[in-house]
């Protein structure tokens, strides 16, 4: 009986992050000013980000934990997500009267879950990471306990999340039965050795995994929770989970499908194509008739998942890189948009109706201009980052031979312009009806500044980001 503790160095970020989450949890008991806790969280995450670059790469715990460029890139997205979300939360949760320290620790726990997912080399770990992320997010969605909408969001998210977990588990159980293992690489080699790629049971499990991951990334027809949850959840959490869990979902989707089911590429691509088309269609079309901006952004988020799916469908490294690149850009522009939405929330004023944006350009020109930039970026109009993201996705998809799919995507992207433009139209082309006063804060301003600069700089000088995405995928 000889047991050696595995090398913990590669998983330094997760360990430090866990420590940070626990510290934050404890600090909540000692520190009254919750802003300090937020600051600790952000500083901690920044530190974790540092360890990310100093921690050696490689696998540990057998191959249950894999630290490679792919996971690192996603973790960077998670860190950006968590820092920006915290920045926009500070004032917001005070306005919502839920200024508790647990909020931050739950966000951190959720992020740990995402990191575990991104680094998962084993389906068991993947499942547990997913549950860690999901459970924290369920709680965060229902964090405004006194708000029925928040409760409802949490309930729906929870019910459907558990439902999708069951599918995931069923799928994992089938894979396990077929291959006798849950290790992703081992599964891959087993499948290719035994020629199981055509096995119907394997495809059944692939289908079930598509259901589960499709739920996380909000792909149609597994997207239906998203609008309700996005609308009901606290806005900062909406921002958080429109980026984090989605990115984590894509991370595992990419790794599981590209590695474990590599030899069944043809089949899962066939499954994902209709899903992607349906996702783009539903997201973009239903968004047209929304009156609540959070709901609208929920549908927009669904639509963006559809575009990002194109990167997976290409089933090559270039496609994966484009998907990662897209998610990174999406993180900036989407959180930026939510940061503006949050500014409108003030005591006694919800500010999440699209009509609340009427005449914003007149009353608050700067906020309107930032929103305009984010909206055009979400539409994918150059010179914003959104364009670079879409362009990369389309390039890799066309390179993989899916020109027709890209044509569909660009048509939907043109349709999407309508509802994004509607916001701009309300802000710039209508007269203000009600006097909207903005809740500004330094932290929110920082978040806005960061996202705006990122959106514009990536839009004009995307070279380094592209390099990063390519480097991240090189050893995959």
């Amino acid at each position: 009986m000889n047991f050696q503790l595995p090398d913990l160095a590669p998983m330094m970020p997760e360990l430090v992050m866990t420590a940070l989450a626990l510290v934050v949890l404890l600090a909540d008991l000692l520190i009254r000013k919750k802003e300090v806790i937020a600051l600790i969280s952000m500083a901690g995450v920044a530190f974790v980000a540092l360890t990310l670059f100093y921690a050696p790469g490689g696998a540990t715990f057998g191959t249950m934990y894999i630290s490679d460029g792919y996971s690192t890139f996603f973790k960077v997205i998670f860190f950006i997500n968590v820092i920006l979300s915290v920045l926009i939360s500070i004032k917001y949760i005070a306005v919502e009267r839920v200024n508790y320290g647990e909020y931050y620790s739950l966000i951190l726990f959720s992020t740990i879950g995402m990191m575990i997912m991104a680094s998962a080399g084993d389906l068991i770990v993947l499942y547990l990471g997913l549950e860690l992320m999901a459970l924290s997010t369920y709680v965060l969605a229902g964090f405004i306990r006194h708000d029925i909408k928040s409760n409802e969001a949490a309930l729906k998210y929870f019910l459907l999340g558990a439902f999708s977990s069951a599918f995931l588990l069923y799928g994992i159980s089938l894979v396990y039965g077929l291959t006798g293992t849950t290790d992703i690489k081992a599964i891959a080699s087993f499948i290719s050795e035994k020629g199981l790629a055509d096995n119907l049971s394997l495809l059944l499990s692939v289908a079930f995994l598509v259901v589960a991951f499709g739920f996380k990334i909000a792909a149609a027809p597994f997207h239906m929770w998203a609008p309700d949850v996005y609308e009901g959840a606290p806005t900062s959490i909406t921002a958080f989970m429109s980026v984090g869990p989605k990115a984590a979902g894509f991370a595992v989707l990419g790794r599981v499908f590209m590695v474990a089911f590599a030899s069944a590429k043809v089949d899962w691509a066939v499954i994902l194509i209709p899903v992607a088309i349906l996702t783009m269609a539903v997201g973009n079309i239903v968004a047209l008739s929304q009156t609540n901006i959070k709901r609208m952004l929920a549908y927009s988020s669904i639509a963006h998942a559809g575009y990002a799916l194109l990167g997976i469908i290409t089933a090559n490294n270039d496609g994966l890189a484009s998907m990662m690149n897209y998610l990174m850009i999406y993180a900036f522009m989407n959180i930026g948009a939510f940061a503006v939405i949050i500014m409108l929330r003030s005591e006694g004023f919800k500010g999440d109706n699209i009509s609340d944006y009427e005449g914003l350009a007149k009353t608050h020109p700067l906020a309107a201009m930032l929103m305009l930039i984010f909206m055009f970026s979400l539409t994918g109009i150059p010179p914003t980052a959104g364009f670079i993201g879409k362009l990369y996705i389309f390039m890799s998809a066309i390179n993989a031979g899916y020109t027709w799919l890209v044509v569909i995507a660009v048509i939907f992207s043109a349709i999407s312009a309508y509802f994004y433009l509607r916001i701009v139209m309300y802000m710039y082309m209508k007269e203000p009806k009600t006097d909207v006063s903005l809740t500004t804060s330094f932290s929110n301003g920082v978040a806005l500044a960061v996202t705006t600069v990122a959106v514009l700089v990536i839009g004009v000088l995307p070279a380094s980001l592209l390099e990063l995405a390519k480097a991240a995928i090189s050893g995959f």
Binding site: L123, I124, R145, N151, K156, L174, G180
Partner: protein, 100 residues
Amino acid sequence: MVPLSWYMVLGAVVFAIGVFGFLSRKNIIIVFMSIELMLNAVNINLISMSHYIQDLRGQILAFFVIAVAAAEAAIGLAIVIALFRNKATAHVDEVKEMQG
């Protein structure tokens, strides 16, 4: 010797029943129980497979599933309580403030 496929069909049956319960019942408690049914179906699958392919991984996963199920139950019930405080109902179909 009972073939593995029997167990798997049993798992599928229980899973399908769980799905049906989840999709059709109004009462949140029963919806929760349906989820547990689905998880148990998975566990039946896992443990029977584990037995037949003589590998313990499946049981370990089943172990984690049970653990997570417990955690899920805790969170789920907490959510129901929070909801119940605002709106005294245990019926899913009355919780549809948001739609469209």
